[in-house]
Each structure stands twice: as structure tokens, then as C-alpha cells.
């Protein structure tokens, strides 16, 4: 059986390693072949970009060689897919190769698309690429005071990032001794300060306590860079001296070009993780259109479910369980406190008051991630 995994991010890597362990005997006896097709020989720890933008991590800490993260027996090919021929159970790569499969997993992820909002890319700082995070770091270092506006597009990767960057900016400016010269203004697309109601109920009084102003029902429409104003679909306007954005995200271009899903997000069954209409094609991570957080944690738990199910298909002829939508998200609440939100499709989160211990757990996870990617944690 040929299992083809397209994408070497968190979801694809965890799944590949999970499968390689479960199917070690079948790989050795050549009954199963696992191939990963990816666009880069490097693997990035994307949550580290938040820390990079604030001078708390350096670029070299974000990367490992993809080959070094994978179990022996996985055939890694740095050769991205250009064409999906799902009706023929095969894909074609940039390098000109054709790969047939029995089971295909698409885990190509998502990308920031600030260009969707006129004026945003030219006038805002963002921390969703290495280049962007470094530029934001330099802008923050040069900033001596004024109005900082935080604005976000929908959908975006990591729903906790808007709160995290706001709380961390508060501490950043406080540490520099200029917090009294900075007005932090947070905007949010829905009618409360976070999509999760229990998180919003906790965060709003924290904003009040820290002197962070906020404005809800604010969906970016355009940025007037000349006058330093960001305008919303709802008719609002926010004047800024420094604009920080959580940009709207789209799926990868290859998904759009192959017409697999609107905006690059593939219609996916939320419990089976199959692509709609294609029972031997699975989709995990940011690539799905499942109404769930686009976050590494989401991809991680989906990869674990799928690893168990694909191994069961090989050994038993059918999957063994449905995915429950589990997500666990850390929430940094400044430079030295954090909490978390854990939920699934049926149980809402119940965030606890932030603690230093949870912050240090997150700091530890920033290092432990590499064992997580290897499928050990």
C-alpha cells in the first residue's frame, strides 16, 4: 500500500512519524510505503515567530532539518506537488515526477495573505513569516511612543495570537520604560474581545486593568497609509502610529490552482477527516475547511487520530475511531504568565487564571516541540 503525505509541516510530520512507528513491520516487509512530498528541506516552528518579533527568540531556534525529524523508513522528497489528479489517484510534482497512491493525505497548511486588504501589506507589521517578524522586531525597537493598533483578518492562524501579542506588547513597552507613552488599542472582528466566550470574559477585565483600549465588530476593510488610519467594514476607523496585524490567511496556492477548495481550504469531513467526495484522501491541519482553530495543536491531534486510523486500515481494513476535534492552546498573558484553552467539538473551554508555571510550561514546549514533531510527545 502506498501512503502519500503532501506537506511537511506539523501535521504531516507528526502523522508520518506516527505511521512509521505503527507500521514499522509492514514498511520493513515492503507491504507499506510512506512517502512525504514537501516544499522545503527545513522545518519551521511557526509559534516561535511571536517570540522572534519581540526579541525573545532568534531565527536559528526556529528551524531543524526536515530529514532529521523523520523516522527511518519514510521516503522524504523535497519536491512540492503541482498537480493533484485525484480521479487517477496520483499527483505530479514540480520536479516532473508522478506519484501514485492508495491513500493520500493533504497537509499543505495556510499562508498569510495581507494583500487581500488594500494598504495592509505596505503599512502594517506582522509576525507570520520570518522576514515579517524580524521587520516587526526592528520597528518595535525603533518605536518611542504613540498609538499602537492591533487589527486582524479572518480567518487567521492561531486564534490566541491576537490576545498574546497584545499582552506581550504591554510587557514589552513596560520593560522598555515607555508604556506610559504608548496607547495599545485592540480591535476584534466579532462582538467581544475573543471568539471563545469564556476567554473573552477573562480577557476584557485584563485589558481594563492594563489600560488597553478595545473595539469589537471591527473587520479590516482598508488601510490608509498616508493618514495612518485603518478602516473597518462596519464603518469604524482607528488612527495608528504603529499598525500590527494578524493577517487574513488563505490555503496554499496549489490547492486553489487545483480547485480543491475555496480560498485554498479543502471541504473536509470533521470526524472522518476525509476530503468530501474522496474517501481515500484525507486532509489535516490548516488545509481543512473544518470550522475549528487553525493552529498547530489542531493539526497535532488530527494527525494522531489519522495515524491510528490509517494504521488500522492497513491492519484491520477499516478505521477505528472518529476525530473529536480536540484542541489545546497555550495563551501567553504577558512575558511571564500564561493560561490555556482546551476544548473539542462538544466541550467548551474553561480557561483558568494565568500562572507563571503555565508560562514556563509554554517555554519548555517551545523546546519540546521537536520531540512532538518526531511523534514522541
Amino acid at each position: 500500500m502506498k501512503i502519500l503525505i503532501v506537506g511537511g509541516g506539523m501535521g504531516g510530520t507528526i502523522l508520518s512519524n506516527n505511521l512509521a512507528r505503527r507500521l514499522a513491520a509492514e514498511i520493513r516487509s515492503r507491504k507499506v510505503q510512506i512517502t512525504m512530498l514537501t516544499a522545503s528541506e527545513k522545518h519551521m516552528y511557526q509559534p516561535g515567530l511571536l517570540y522572534l518579533a519581540l526579541g525573545r527568540m532568534t531565527p536559528d531556534e526556529l528551524y531543524r532539518d526536515q530529514a532529521g525529524l523523520l523516522e527511518p523508513g519514510i521516503d522524504l522528497q523535497v519536491d512540492p506537488v503541482e498537480t493533484f489528479e485525484l480521479d487517477q489517484n496520483q499527483v505530479k510534482t514540480k520536479g516532473g515526477k508522478t506519484h501514485a497512491y492508495d491513500i493520500l493525505v493533504i497537509a499543505t497548511g495556510s499562508r498569510p495573505a495581507p494583500e487581500v486588504i488594500p494598504g495592509l501589506a505596505e503599512n502594517a507589521e506582522q509576525f507570520y513569516t520570518e522576514q515579517g517578524a524580524l521587520k516587526m522586531f526592528r520597528s518595535l525597537q525603533a518605536f518611542q511612543g504613540g498609538r499602537v493598533v492591533i487589527a486582524m483578518g479572518v480567518p487567521h492562524k492561531c486564534p490566541m495570537a491576537p490576545l498574546e501579542i497584545t499582552f506581550m506588547l504591554h510587557d514589552y513597552f513596560k520593560d522598555r520604560g515607555i508604556r506610559d507613552k504608548v496607547q495599545l488599542h485592540y480591535t476584534y472582528p466579532v462582538g467581544r474581545v475573543h471568539s471563545l466566550e469564556p476567554v473573552a470574559k477573562w480577557a476584557q477585565p485584563e485589558f481594563d486593568r492594563l489600560g488597553i483600549t478595545y473595539e469589537t465588530l471591527f473587520n479590516m476593510k482598508e488601510v490608509d497609509g498616508k493618514n495612518h488610519v485603518v478602516k473597518s467594514e462596519e464603518g469604524g476607523e482607528a488612527k495608528y502610529d504603529l499598525l500590527i496585524t494578524i493577517p487574513v490567511h488563505k490555503g496554499m496556492e496549489v490547492i486553489e490552482k487545483n480547485k480543491l477548495g475555496q480560498g485554498g481550504f479543502i471541504p473536509t469531513n470533521k470526524t472522518k477527516l476525509t476530503m468530501e467526495g474522496h474517501p481515500n484522501v484525507y486532509v489535516i491541519g490548516d488545509t481543512t475547511n473544518i470550522p475549528i482553530s487553525k493552529a498547530g495543536s489542531t493539526a497535532h491531534y488530527q494527525a494522531e487520530t489519522l495515524g491510528e486510523n490509517i494504521a488500522a486500515i492497513v491492519k484491520l481494513g477499516q478505521p477505528v475511531r472518529e476525530h473529536d476535534g480536540k484542541v489545546f492552546c497555550f495563551i501567553e498573558c504577558g512575558k511571564d504568565r500564561a493560561t490555556y484553552a482546551m476544548f473539542n467539538y462538544t466541550n467548551p473551554p474553561d480557561p483558568k487564571p494565568p500562572t507563571r508555571a503555565m508560562h514556563w510550561f509554554k517555554m519548555a514546549y517551545n523546546k519540546l516541540y521537536w520531540t512532538s514533531a518526531r511523534g514522541l510527545l
Binding site: V116, V154, P155, P159, P189, V190, G191, S195, L196, E197, L217, N219, E233, E234, G235, Q262, G263, K270, P291, I292, S293, G325, V327, A341, F343, Y345, T346, P348, P349
Partner: protein
């Protein structure tokens, strides 16, 4: 009645039904009708409030077996 595009946001605590609607409306056509399915009763207030503020047309809400169906038309 024109065919409606269903946005099934049941079980979506995060990013939530309104955020799903905002994301999906970007790809809709003017005049297209949508129906959001939500297991959160708060959506019955949140979504019409946002539609009113942005200027899209709210077509109505009904509840069936713990699922709220919120209908709307994209107007711009």
C-alpha cells in the same frame, strides 16, 4: 426560494460561527443567500447584530433540535 449555501458551524467554539460566516462571505456573490448552522444560541444575537452593522440582509432565525439556523443575503 433560491438555493442557500450552508455554513455548518456546529461545534465550532473557536473561531466560532460568526467568524466562519465572515470568512466564507468573502467568497460569496452579491445576492447569494447563506444559512449558518450553529449549536451556540448566542449566534442568534451575534450574527444578526453584525449583519445589521455591516449592511448585509438578515432573513431570519429558526431553532430546530438545539441547532440555530440563521439565514442572510450578501448585499455588497
Amino acid at each position: 426560494m433560491p438555493e442557500r449555501t450552508i455554513i455548518d458551524a456546529r461545534g465550532s467554539f473557536c473561531p466560532g460561527p460568526l467568524m466562519e460566516l465572515i470568512a466564507r462571505l468573502k467568497y460569496g456573490k452579491v445576492g447569494e443567500e447563506f444559512e449558518v448552522l450553529s449549536s451556540d444560541k448566542g449566534s442568534a444575537n451575534d450574527i444578526p447584530e453584525w449583519l445589521h452593522k455591516v449592511g448585509h440582509e438578515f432573513l431570519g432565525t429558526r431553532e430546530e433540535a438545539g441547532v440555530w439556523h440563521i439565514a442572510l443575503r450578501k448585499t455588497k
